[in-house]
Amino acid sequence: CSNYQKALKSTDNQLKVRVADSLIAAEKYSKAINLLEQAVPAYRGTDSAAPVALKYANALYEDRRYPESGYQFETYRKSYVSDPYREYATFMIGKSLYEMAPIYSKDQEPTQRALAKFQDYINVYPNGEYLPEANKLVDEMQFKLDKKAYEIAKNYHKRAPFSRGGYTAAIASFENFIIDHPGSEFQDDAAFYLLDSQYSYAIKSFAVLIPERLEVAKEYYDTFAARFPNSEYKEQADELLEKINSYNN
């Protein structure tokens, strides 16, 4: 610790970096950041500038200061065009944003930005070292966006019995979901709940409207059954179909 204080007050930038290295090794990132923060400007324009800047960005990332680490990796990528670690920095820009994203039920603006940054990475380094991880994270984030949209639609479905226009909101949301999130693993869930919403909507309508609306529900069933013959909802869907058919007879 006294080493740290000495380095902090010292004007010797090499000392700052040396102490920072040992702090990083000991996982004391916030102290290391304080030292590197002072050292980075001093090294600018020298041969050692790149490694120090990279250390700084990494320490920020490890200290969970993702907005700052993202910014530093971005700066790194722009400043050291032919650096061997440029690929790594490019990847880490996206990863910092990825880490910033909150739980799916809150604003996913960082996720959207992270996806764009990973796309940039994949475009520039189609055979990159971090490609497998980038793909994994992209899938994870895509899943998050799918889940967000699905849960919003599911909530319309949940509130539907108690709110005016609730079923139509659920129907429209599931329909949108099916179109907007084609590769999602919630596709069968959405297709089933679309059927379920349409069925409830139909039977709670005025008598004259019921057959016509059940007809639509039946179409939803057919689509569901054709697309997801092995879905976990198959049984429930079949039950609904039976109810639809028995109403008609």
């Binding site: 909150p102 739980i103 039920s105 809150k106 604003d107 603006e109 967000k148 849960e151 919003i152 909530n155 319309y156 949940k158 509130r159 019995p161 108690f162 709110s163 226009g165 609730g166 139509t168 909101a169 129907i171 429209a172 949301s173 949108n176």
Partner: protein, 835 residues
């Protein structure tokens, strides 16, 4: 010769020699030279364009009050060239800086304010312009306040400080003169509209009248010009669409009064002719005609006519445009066209392009970095698949604002991807999270010693994340729940309470669920040593409440029905109180509360400006005495309740209070009325009654009303209701020591906001109150009340809640005192959210 250097007159080309700057005091000569951009060796025409540009550039700096250029020497070229060398001198006079400012003719405070408004500070460059603008500003300021003949004399005096920098001292003499009032306003040329009506049209220019209180009869030029426009507007509203003001004269009567004469030319009165609707298929002509509220033969009123078609000032208005916009016709357009003017009749055609119905498609939310989607979506009324409706969007903004989780002034719905072809439109609600937690930390003397309080209130809590370490930022947030914790302790008492509310139990419908726990311990001080607490003399109260409240759809959505079950257990050990006739024993208070409220108060919960709130609650216990077979009337004769043959009051009370038996009814009505501009009147009336089912068992000493004082329940032991009545000491109106069983209160409060910013809301208020507290229903007389009046201040800051101070004067003697003097002045500190 280079292009750009155009010789003017007898201008000659030179080579620039030395450049000197004279007259500088605070600026470096080199700086000035550098700024001119001239360099030795440059070729330059004198006089010439370049030189004038240099002067202009210097002039534009506004740092110099005079700039002169001299040629100080012309030398023939040594190389025998044709061009001579010229030496230039820039003689400049720097604009002095302002040093001292003195204001005469105003009171100290006014001078201070004026200085702030003028924005003059030491170091300001004091040029001619400054003097003029300062004078104009002051004169205008006072003229706007009705001092028509206000004048200001602004003088500057040169001075120098010890460093040789020159500066000026400014002396401002303000002569406000008399405030000028308008003695009379007379009209000429008006045959159709009366003088009275025209005077009314001048909204801010009024003649003297003792009965008018809110607007004064001062003369302000700007308002007057605006009012002349209003006058014409009034004519237009009455069918005179050609009316104009042809002249007006201001006559000075004396130093204090003027007279205004306005000459108008009315022109013809016009009437509506045929109004034809074209293009409407959804609504019939008849229906639209009724909405338009205009019929053939009506006096022509262009303003009202346009407002009935579309009124941008009132988004809720029932206009033709809204009729379409709220029913899906997003792409509809309405145009009113004058088709014919014949004599005094104007025909109109209302051309409507209805287009397709649009439906909401994607509804999205942005900016919710803390609050979970479901909390927001359940308050949004524009749902996917619904017909497009402007009203649904406006209502959503209000609902989201009322949550208190977002900056209510900054909820921005964005209409995206409107597609005429698909008949769809997306809406994205842009939100900005706002602080929703409050902390209360206070210490003070009261209740016989130091009292410390810690209160925490989280208004957007997330209970399900309470064990999720990741969610602590710094507390789990985002599910719209409320969690309030409070602990209060002094040497002789401690209270703890916890309150939790979930506004949408189960997430399906707006049924709010509330649960609270509280525990308090009260001790006596040692009889020998008052500093020591005797823990053997104690009074413990533990309680819990669980409640449900449901928003009703009938009679209207502002109604809410609530139910609650509460239980409290009292336990005494060696603790003699006024409540019971026994020092050791217990009592249970198990009650059911029913409530019906109607609340449409809006918009800002801290400073409501309209609406009303009514609350009727009934709290009741079971009528145990109906079936428990105890003959309460003859308890004293029962040997079981006697000691040595005499009735034992302790035993009797224990029997009476084993389970408390009572009912309590309360009513509260509050109205908010806008009086003028931001001045709001709050009218409030309250009534409370505590009764017994069984008169032999008697009224309980609990759940009673204590009227008087600041209305803050410091630590409530016995379910008491503490009623604020300013101008009197705490509980000063209560006639019996146990508290009273009937009370009523009426109050009138005028509120005016100073600021309603997000960081702090501040308002001032004056009030008049009357309240009465009565021992029994027999002594109840709603007109036998004590009265008070006073004024106060409230400050609301999101992190601290509401703080306030009131000064109240009680006009009547407090019943609790034996004095016959008025209660007099009392100061009350208000803490907590009691709006």
């Amino acid at each position: 010769q280079r292009p750009g250097d155009i010789p003017i007159g007898e201008s000659t080309e030179y080579i620039l020699g030395d450049i000197t700057v004279t007259g500088t005091k605070s600026y470096n000569e080199n700086t000035v030279v550098a700024f001119t951009g001239l360099r030795k060796g440059d070729r330059i025409f004198v006089p010439g364009e370049r030189l004038s540009q240099v002067v202009k550039k210097l002039w534009d700096l506004k740092l110099f009050s005079d700039i002169r250029v001299y040629a100080v020497g012309i030398k023939g070229d040594p190389n025998d060239d044709i061009v001579d060398t010229i030496d230039l001198e820039f003689n400049i006079i720097e604009v002095p800086t302002l040093n001292k400012i003195e204001i005469d003719g105003l009171k100290k405070n006014q001078s201070k304010d004026l200085l702030k408004e003028l924005n003059l500070s030491k170091g300001t460059k004091a040029n001619e312009n400054l003097v003029t603008t300062t004078r104009n500003f002051i004169e205008k300021k006072y003229q706007d306040k009705g001092f028509l003949y206000a004048d200001a004399l602004v003088r500057t005096r040169d001075a120098q400080d010890t460093l040789g920098n020159n500066y000026v001292d400014m002396k401002i003499e303000v002569n406000k003169n008399e405030k000028v009032k308008i003695k009379s306003i007379d009209f000429e040329g008006n045959t159709q509209l009366s003088d009275k009506k025209l005077r009314k049209a001048l909204k801010n220019t009024k003649q003297k009248n003792f009965l008018r209180v809110l607007k004064r009869s001062k003369y302000v030029e700007e308002d007057y010009q605006e009012d002349l426009k209003n006058l014409v507007e009034t004519y237009k509203e009455n069918g005179f669409r050609d009316a104009r003001v042809v002249g007006d004269t201001l006559t000075k009567i004396d130093d204090k009064t003027i007279a205004l004469d306005i000459k108008v030319e009315e022109g013809n009165r016009y009437y509506f002719g045929d109004i034809k609707f074209i293009g409407n298929t959804v609504y019939s002509d008849d229906y639209l005609q009724r909405l338009l509220k205009v019929e053939k033969g009506d006096v022509y009123n262009g303003v009202a006519f346009d407002n009935q078609i579309s009124d941008p000032a009132d988004p809720d208005a029932r206009t033709l445009e809204n009729e379409y916009q709220n029913n899906g016709y997003l792409f509809s357009r309405i145009n009113a066209v004058e088709t014919k003017v014949e004599n005094d009749t104007i025909d109109f055609e209302i051309r409507i392009i209805e287009d397709n119905v649009a439906y909401f498609n994607h509804i999205s939310v942005k900016g919710n970095t803390r609050t979970n989607d479901h909390v927001i979506y359940r308050n949004i009324q524009s749902n996917p698949g619904d017909k497009y409706s402007k009203a649904a969007i406006i209502n959503s903004i209000r609902e989201l604002g009322q949550l208190g989780f977002f900056n209510a002034e900054n909820i921005n719905p964005r209409i995206l991807n409107p597609s005429q072809q698909d008949g769809t439109v997306d809406v994205e609600y842009e939100l900005e999270e706002a602080g929703a937690s409050q902390i209360e930390l206070q210490g003070g003397y009261g209740g016989g010693g130091f009292v410390g309080t810690l209160g925490l209130r989280f208004n957007n809590f997330s209970l399900r994340n309470i064990f999720n370490k990741e969610a602590y930022q710094p507390v789990p947030q985002g599910d719209g729940q409320t969690l309030a914790l409070r602990a209060q302790a002094s040497t002789i008492f401690r209270t703890y309470s916890l309150n939790f509310t979930e506004p949408w139990l189960g997430g399906r419908k707006p049924v709010s669920f509330n649960v609270s726990f509280s525990h308090s311990e009260q001790f006596r001080v040692n009889a020998q040593n008052f500093r020591e607490v005797d823990r053997n003399q104690r009074f413990l109260i533990s309680g819990a409440t669980i409640g449900l409240a449901k928003r009703l759809e009938w009679p209207d959505p502002y109604f809410q029905f609530s139910q609650a079950l509460s239980f409290q257990h009292y336990n005494l050990k060696n603790y003699q109180t006024n409540l019971f006739n026994f020092p050791n024993g217990f009592s249970n208070n198990f009650a059911y509360t029913l409530g019906l409220t109607r609340d449409n108060v809006g918009v800002n919960p801290i400073f409501p400006t309209y609406g009303s709130r009514f609350a009727l609650t009934a709290k009741m216990t079971l009528p145990y005495s109906l079936w428990n077979g105890v003959d309460y009337e003859n308890l004293e004769n029962d040997p079981n309740f006697q000691t040595n043959g005499a009735p034992d009051l302790a035993k009797i009370d224990q029997e009476r209070f084993r389970f408390l038996e009572y009912y309590k009814i309360k009513f509260e009505g509050t109205w908010y009325t806008q009086i003028y501009d931001k001045l709001i009147m709050q009218t409030k009336s309250e009534f409370g009654f505590l009764g017994a089912y069984n008169n032999d068992r008697g009224l309980v000493p609990f759940e009673r009303f204590f009227v008087g004082g600041d209305g803050l329940g410091a630590f409530s032991l016995d379910g008491r209701d503490i009623i604020r009545m300013r101008g009197y000491d705490n509980s000063a109106l209560t006639t019996s020591a146990d508290g009273d069983t009937v009370y009523n209160k009426f109050s009138l409060e005028m509120r005016y906001p100073i600021t309603l910013e997000q960081a702090a809301s501040i308002y001032v208020l004056t009030f008049a109150e009357a309240a009465g507290s009565y021992d029994t229903f027999r002594s109840y007389n709603p007109f036998d009340v004590e009265r008070s009046a006073g004024a106060g201040l409230r400050v609301f800051m999101p992190a601290f809640g509401l703080l306030g101070i009131d000064f109240g004067y009680g006009f009547d003697p407090a019943p609790i005192s034996n004095s016959t003097d008025p209660s007099g002045w009392n100061v009350h500190f208000i803490i907590g959210q009691q709006f």
